[in-house]
Symmetry: C2
Subunit: 341 residues, 2 copies
DNA sequence: GTTAGCACTCGACTAATTAGAGTGCTAACA
DNA sequence: TGTTAGCACTCTAATTAGTCGAGTGCTAAC
C-alpha cells in the first residue's frame, strides 16, 4: 500500500485537528474539515489504511485516531520543507542588547516560552578555541594578589591569591612578565610539566604563586565544561493534560530543574555537523530521558566564530510545530546577528 | 475560655497526627493517640472549644479537624522554644568546601531539598559595604582594554573596553594612576559629578575611557541589586496532594522559576534585625504571593562580616517543622563557619 | 466533669445506567 | 471500481443512585 496525495491530506487534517484539540479525531470531523468532499465512510476506509501504514493510532476501539510518532515525523518533515523560506524575511528585533550575556540568554528563554506557550531552554555558548590571551597579577591588599586571566573569546577569570610574605612591586612586575612570556597564546595541552617547572625555578621563592596561577589558568580554560543552561516556562507543561499528570509532570520538572540532564540535547545538537539549523525530536527520538512523551525542537546559534549554543522548545507531541519552528528561527537569527556588527 | 494544658496537648496531638497523614483528625483517633486517657466524647467537647478558639478547622460537618494557621503558629512557637538547645551539638560537615560560591550554594539548596523532601531556596549573600578597592586597566589586544574593578568584600567586575585609537603603555599607566588616586576607598555616593569631570579633564582625549570605567564602577557597586537565588526540589511539591493540583502547582512552580518573586522573602528576612536566626511564615503570613497555601521557614546566614544571605524551605502547612528547623540550623551553622577560618 | 449512646451529616466509593461518538462491515449506487 | 448510506456494535465519559463509614453534636446517666 502506498501513501498517495489524498492519504497525506487526510493525515495532515487529522494532525492539525489533533494539535488544536488534543482529542482523538473521528472520521466525520475530517469529512467536514477538509475540502476533499468525501463522506465519513470513505475517510474511515482511508484511516484504516493510514493506521495499517503506522501513521495513526487508535487509543481504543471506539475512539478517533491520534497521530503516531511516525505520523508526526512525516508531517514535520514535509512542513519544514514548505516553511523553509517563509521565515527569511521576518526579522524583528525583539531582543535588546543586554550587556550581560547571562541576562540576555535568560531573557531569550523567557521570550521563547512566552511566545510559544511551551517550555523553553537556552544553553550558553560553548567556547572551543581556548588559548591563553593575557595574564595579570595585581596587588589589591597588603597580602592579597588578584590574578586576572583572559582566554581567547574574552572569557575572563579572576582569582584572589593570598600570600604570606609581602611582595615588592618589582617582583610582581617580573612575575607578570614571566607568566605572559611563557604562557600567552598557548592552549591547555601546550602547557607541559617541563615548562611549569622551568617557570617555577625562575620564580624562585615565589614559585607558589606561579603554581596557583597555573591552576587558575587550567580552570579558566576548562571552565566551559560545566555548561550553563537557562530554562523558562516550566508551568506550560500544565497546559497540556497529557503531560500534566503527577508522575509525568514531576519527572519533567525535575529534568528541567536539573538542567544538566538537558545537556544531552545540547551535545547532540552541536555534534550534528551538517544540520540545517533546526532539529526535531518526536517522542522516543529524544536524547533526554524522561521526556519520551514530549517533542523537542532545537536550533543552534553561533554568536561569534566557534561560540555555539542551543535553543530549544519542549512541549507535547501535539505541539504547534510551525509556530515553534518560526520562533526558533527568529531567535536564532537574532542571536546570530547580535555580535556580528 | 482559656487554653489550658489539656487543650494544648490535644491540639498538639491533632497537629502531629495531621502532619503525618494529611487527613483530618477525628476525636476517636486522638482518644487513642494521646496518653490522656480520655474518651472520644470528651475529646469532642474539647475539640469544639479549640475550634471556637480558632486553633482548628472543620473542612466539612462530618470530617475530623485540621489545624488552622493560628494553630500551627502556636505549635511552632512552642516547638521552637523547646528545640532551641537541641541542635547546638550536632555539627557534621556535609558541605565540601567548593571553590566557587555559586556551586556551593546550588549544592546547599540541593542538599536541603533532598534532606527535607520539601522545596528549598538559597540566596547568594548580599554585600553591603561597597567601597571601591582597586581599579586596573590592561591592554589585552591591539584595541581592547580590560578594566578590572575590585570592590570591598572582593567582588570583582571585569569589563572589556574597545578603543578606536591605540593607546601607549605610558598613557595606560597614567590612566591607572589617575583612576586609583581619585576613586580608591570611595563609595558610590561619594563619587560625584565634579570629581568625574575633573578626571575627564585630566584624561584629555582619553576621557571616553574614564567615562566607561566609571560606568563599570557604578555597575560593580550596585551589582548586588540583582539578587541571585538558587532553588531545588521543585518536584517535592507533588508529594503533598494539597499543593499538587494543577492550579496551585502551576503557581508555585512559576514562583519558584521566577526566582525574583522569592526576593521578598530574602528582604523580609534580612530586614528583621533582631531575629533569632529562624523565621516561620505560615499560610497567609507569607510575604510571597502565590504561596498562601504553604509554610515557609527561613534562616539567615552570614559568610563574612556583612555578607548575609537567606536559606529557606517551602512546603505544605503540615510540614515537619522540627525536621526543617533542624536542617536549616545545621546548614546555617555550616555556612556561618565556612569562611571563619 | 466524664462518658456512653444515638441520631444525624456528609464525603468517598461503588455499581448501574445512559448518551454519544466513532468504528467496521455490508450492500447499494454511479 | 471507488464511493456512499446505513446499521449493529464497542467503548468511554458522565450521570445517577445507593451504600458505607467516619465523625459530629447532643442528651442523659454516671
Amino acid at each position: 500500500m502506498q501513501l498517495d496525495e489524498r492519504k497525506y491530506k487526510i493525515l495532515q487534517a487529522i494532525i492539525r485537528n489533533y494539535l488544536e484539540t488534543g482529542e482523538p479525531v473521528g472520521s466525520r470531523t475530517i469529512s467536514k474539515y477538509t475540502d476533499l468532499n468525501l463522506s465519513s465512510a470513505t475517510i474511515r476506509n482511508e484511516m484504516a489504511d493510514l493506521e495499517e501504514l503506522g501513521y495513526i493510532l487508535q487509543p481504543h476501539t471506539s475512539a478517533g485516531r491520534i497521530p503516531s510518532d511516525q505520523g508526526y515525523r512525516l508531517y514535520v518533515d514535509k512542513m519544514m520543507e514548505e516553511k523553509e523560506r517563509e521565515v527569511e524575511e521576518m526579522k524583528e528585533t525583539l531582543l535588546e542588547k543586554e550587556d550581560k550575556m547571562d541576562h540576555l540568554l535568560k531573557q531569550a528563554a523567557k521570550m521563547l516560552a512566552a511566545n510559544t506557550e511551551y517550555a523553553a531552554m537556552v544553553s550558553a555558548p560553548q567556547y572551543h578555541r581556548n588559548k591563553l590571551k593575557f595574564i595579570q597579577l595585581s596587588r589589591v591588599d597588603i597580602n592579597q594578589i588578584l590574578a586576572v586571566i583572559v582566554v581567547e573569546g574574552n572569557v575572563i577569570k579572576n582569582t584572589m591569591l593570598t600570600v604570606k610574605d609581602e611582595i615588592s612591586d618589582e617582583t610582581l612586575l617580573k612575575l607578570n612578565i614571566l607568566l605572559n612570556t611563557h604562557l600567552n597564546g598557548l592552549s591547555l595541552e601546550e602547557i607541559n610539566l617541563g615548562m611549569i617547572s622551568a617557570m617555577k625555578q625562575q620564580a624562585g621563592i615565589h614559585s607558589v604563586i606561579v603554581a596557583d596561577v597555573i591552576d587558575a589558568v587550567a580552570e579558566a580554560i576548562k571552565a566551559d565544561e560545566d555548561l550553563e543552561i537557562y530554562t523558562s516556562g516550566t508551568k506550560n507543561f500544565f497546559k497540556y493534560p497529557e503531560l500534566a499528570d503527577h508522575e509525568r509532570a514531576s519527572e519533567l520538572i525535575t529534568t528541567f530543574e536539573e538542567k544538566q540532564l538537558l545537556s544531552e540535547l545540547v551535545q547532540d545538537n552541536l555534534a550534528d555537523e551538517n544540520n540545517t539549523g533546526i532539529q526535531v525530536y518526536i517522542g522516543n527520538e529524544t536524547p533526554v530521558q524522561g521526556m519520551r512523551d514530549c517533542s523537542i525542537v532545537t536550533a543552534t546559534y553561533e554568536l561569534d566564530e566557534g561560540m555555539k549554543g542551543t535553543i530549544g522548545i519542549i512541549g507535547p507531541k501535539r505541539m504547534d510545530y510551525e509556530k515553534v519552528v518560526k520562533n526558533l528561527k527568529l531567535l536564532k537569527n537574532q542571536l546570530d546577528d547580535l555580535y556580528k556588527k
